[in-house]
């Protein structure tokens, strides 16, 4: 293999290097207030990111407390089952509402989506800032609810337990989730409009990067499904305060109705969590394989298909709830339909590696970990969509393991992978890739220790949300707990590697991985207004014009060689 001769100049490089290095969105204005009142999508995204990571630390702490308590049957570190019940409720609520739902769209999406579109900002910058402060309000209310006695309802707030429990923080936390819902709706609304109206000339729907497709599909679910959660929680608040009886069987209400309402949102919410993750994986795998994504249209369509199916499968959470056998059968059948687009995506990602040029960068390791974990998470969904096996597995650790493989092993791992992918872009610094890769491996091993054991726990009959358990389950619990410590060590290593980039990490090139989409064609960190003039758009998965530059340690895009951008270039051979 020969090294590509270094070019001395290119049109895009000129625009990057013409700007003074110090002027970027981080340094454009200074002072706390310039952040507090910023309308810049990148700064809002960065504020979201730190907030989400802080919440992740909190939710993770509760996870470690839970796992430590479960080291032995009976009391281990707390003698009170009530304390344990609050821990798992807080862990679930924080991780779902404060971490995973906003993590990719609101944090990474906010930073990257407008730049990918070559736009200066999202369509409604003020709404964007408002949505961040709604998130902050929600987070503060969660803390208030802790101060008012916490809550022990489980993150699902099932009635009548949630309307009768004596813990004092139930109404504040319901209000918090209600407000967080609006934060999510406004972000979704903003993204829908931005993708519709701010695409640059030449970027048709089927030339959008797949991350945009994923964020777009997610945004649609956020806008359509989240209002149902809002209404449901409002009803729950009214029910708890003035006892109107909608969910109270003693007044003719029905607790199962609550479950329908709740899952009508919360099942689509699973796809609010996983779809953007799939978008990140499409980007990381294509860019690090340096070849076009295999079956672009199938991946794009499968995002939309998953978004649509997500609305009609909620009943599979309720196979044992007293729902009729006919409904169970229908929901089981429809639930299987989600398996097809998910499988198609996995096949396409693997096929993208075929005859590619695979660079094992840190983000790529995360993407490969995602493929491993999502395959397990997806396949174990088959056990739960199947009626007869779900009856046995429902509400056991099998379900806990399954959704952790999907929500954490897939959504969160993709989020961390995306963080590594765009970190150089966001902060202009490279992290230590060796340390980053080691961290990824530690997390991967710890994750499987923690959660694979829970599949066996569950199928052997260990119910979930148990403070105490039969001694026969202890071996698996001990392995699981040790795994959670290993994972904590992995995340600590990740933090060291990422924060280390601020101290002595070398300067990031504009395009460290060889990407073709527009965010790699502005400087790292991007200037305040992203692009001085609307950039030209080529095929964002055509890497044949991406060149390595030894001097900057990064890649650059030789657009003059792309006939779509520069008609004078010689036409390339058709594939």
């Amino acid at each position: 293999m020969t090294t590509i001769p270094l070019p001395t100049s290119g049109p895009v490089r000129d625009t990057i290097e013409a700007r003074p290095e110090s002027d970027n969105y981080l340094t454009h204005t200074r002072g706390v207030l310039s952040w507090v009142f910023t309308l810049d999508h990148k700064r809002i995204g960065v504020m979201y990111m730190w907030s989400v990571l802080a919440s992740f630390l909190l939710g993770g702490t509760f996870a470690l407390l839970l796992r430590t308590e479960l080291l032995t049957p009976g009391p281990t570190i707390t003698a009170s089952a009530d304390t344990y019940n609050q821990w798992f409720t807080l862990h679930g609520a924080i991780m779902v509402f404060l971490v995973i739902i906003p993590s990719i769209p609101a944090a990474l999406g906010n930073v990257i989506l407008p730049i990918m579109l070559g736009a200066k900002d999202v369509a409604f910058p003020r709404l964007n800032l408002f949505s961040y402060y709604l998130w902050v309000t929600g987070a503060v209310l969660c803390v208030v609810s802790l101060a008012m006695g916490g809550f022990d309802t489980g993150w699902t707030f099932y009635t009548p337990y949630s309307t009768t429990t004596s813990t004092g923080g139930v109404i504040p936390v319901l209000t918090a989730v209600f407000i967080l819902g609006f934060s999510s709706i406004f972000t979704g609304l903003n993204f829908v409009v931005t993708v519709h109206k701010l695409r640059p000339p030449g970027m048709t729907w089927f030339r959008m990067p797949l991350f945009l497709w994923a964020l777009y599909a997610t945004a649609i679910i956020q806008v359509l499904a989240t209002p149902v959660l809002g209404i449901t929680l409002l009803l729950l608040i009214v029910e708890r305060t003035v006892n109107i009886g909608i969910f109270n069987p003693q007044m003719g209400g029905d607790p199962v109705l609550y479950q329908h309402f709740f899952w009508f949102y919360s099942h689509p919410a699973v796809y609010i969590m996983i779809l953007p993750a799939m978008g990140i994986i499409s980007e990381i795998i294509a860019i690090n394989s340096h070849r076009s994504i295999f079956g672009y249209r199938f991946i794009a369509f499968s995002s939309i298909a998953i978004a649509m199916f997500s609305f009609i499968v909620w009943g599979h959470h309720m196979f044992t709830s007293g729902q009729s056998a006919l409904l169970n059968t229908l929901f089981s059948a429809i639930s299987f339909s989600v398996a097809i687009p998910s499988a198609v995506k996995v096949f396409n990602w693997v096929a993208t590696l075929y005859k590619g040029s695979v660079s094992l960068t840190t983000p790529m390791w995360y993407a490969l970990a995602f493929l491993f974990l999502f395959t397990i998470g997806g396949l174990t969904g088959l056990h739960l969509a199947t009626l007869s096996t779900d009856v046995h597995l429902h509400d056991t650790y099998f379900v806990v393991a399954h959704f952790h493989y999907v929500m954490m092993g897939s959504a969160l791992i993709a989020m961390i992978g995306g963080l590594h992918h765009w970190w150089p872009k966001m902060f202009g610094r490279m992290y230590d890739e060796r340390l980053g890769t080691i961290a990824c491996w530690i997390i991967f091993i710890g994750f499987n220790m923690t959660f694979f054991t829970q599949f066996m726990l569950g199928s052997q009959g260990m119910p979930r949300r148990y403070y105490d358990y039969q001694p026969e389950f202890q071996t698996y619990h001990v392995i699981s707990t040790i795994g959670s410590y290993v994972m904590a060590l992995g995340f600590l290593t990740t933090a060291v590697s990422l924060f280390g980039s601020f101290f002595g990490g070398h300067k990031a090139p504009a395009n460290p991985w060889g990407g073709r989409s527009l965010e790699w064609q502005c400087a790292s960190p991007p200037p305040f207004d992203n692009f001085a003039k609307t950039p030209r758009v080529g095929d964002c998965y055509d890497f044949s014009v991406v060149r390595w530059d030894e001097k900057t340690g990064g890649y650059w895009v030789d657009e003059s060689a792309d006939p779509e951008v520069n008609p004078a270039a010689a036409p390339r051979a058709a594939h």
Binding site: T2, A81, N85, G154, Y158, T159, Y161, T164, S166, V256, R291, S292, F294, G295, T320, S321, G322, A325, N328, T329, S332, F336, A339, A343, F347, N348, A351, L353, Y354, K355, G356, S357, V358, S359, L360, L371, T375, I376, L379, L382, A385, L387, S388, T389, D390, V391, H392, H394, S459, Q460, G461, P463, R465, Y467, D468, Q470, S544, V546, W548, E550
Partner: protein, 393 residues
Amino acid sequence: MSTIHQALSSAAAKAHALTGLAQAADGPTPRTFWMPEGASTIAPGVDHTLDVINWICYVFFALILGLMVFFVAKYRHRRGERFRTEYPHHNTPLEVTWSIIPTIIVIGIFVVGFRSYLDIYTAPKNAFDIKATAQKWAWQFQYPNGAQSDDLYVPAGKPVRIVLRSSDVLHSFYIPDFRVKRDVVPGRYTYAWFQCDHPTGMPGKDVRDPNAATVDLPLGEGQRHALYCTEYCGTGHSKMNRFVYVLDEASFAQWMVDQSQWMDKIPEEELWFKAGPKLFSRCSQCHSLDGTNGIGPSWKGIVERVKGYDFVGEGRKYGTWEDYVRTSILVPGEYVVPPYANAMPTFKGQLNDKAIDAVIGYMQNLDKLDPKTGKLLPTLDPQTAQPATGAAK
């Protein structure tokens, strides 16, 4: 007695004719890596479905991950090398194929799962009914002859339908060994049914706590099955588990009769130590005997405490302390003493007058009881509750 026998045997005969379920000959299916012991007639079908899905998963997992590792190794790129440019962008026939094959497979899984689900869902028409009441945090089973129990006793070789109801929040009835689960929803009746053909024998001791009170019935040894609550219901959720005993037809009929009469044979003055400890095992989730306050107040010193309340006494709301205790058992929310919440479920319909007398007597004799186990002190004669005349006896 004979009516019960007849009902049981005719139910069994009809069930077998209806469902065509064969009597399994050689015991429950053993525990495997994935599944616990399979002791019900539906367990083999569920396990078979699980096996089918598992094998599909193994094959796809190996295929996907195998290809992933192979491609990454084969097409590894190092910085500075030229990128490969000859690669397929898409391949419609291939993509259509790998959309259709999973579609066919999941349709197959759905059909297999649906068929075994029908067996789980549909109870035979004349199954033997047992009523179950779930409440925070105990199960109460009621049998056709009026007998009650905390553990579940079922006849072997007959379809049994559990009629589930909840007196407070959501619970869920789960017997892993039977592959049966059903939510218990307040305001509704839900059903779970199963048939277990393998008797377990009678309870010998409580494996969770060998010192706990056991039923005063002939003892035997046998494998029992765990019964869990699997819908989160608060503080005692993880303690809301009992055992299932499967008895052969004759033993079950005899057990029902004995169980319905167990207190009748005990003279009034012996109730507190012969029935009390067993009844207390249902209170011990929330009440202690050693002074530690749980969800409810400890019973230590409770008689003096209640006598001291300003609403107890002649001419007051409750004339005697016994009145207040009795009301608290039957209508727990009528007068709650702070700081305790109105958390206690009612025992109306579960404890008759004799049982309440036993509880009241128990409270009066706490000094003769072991505060840890709730049983009579070992220094006392278990027949008379008097100090034993000598160690030799």
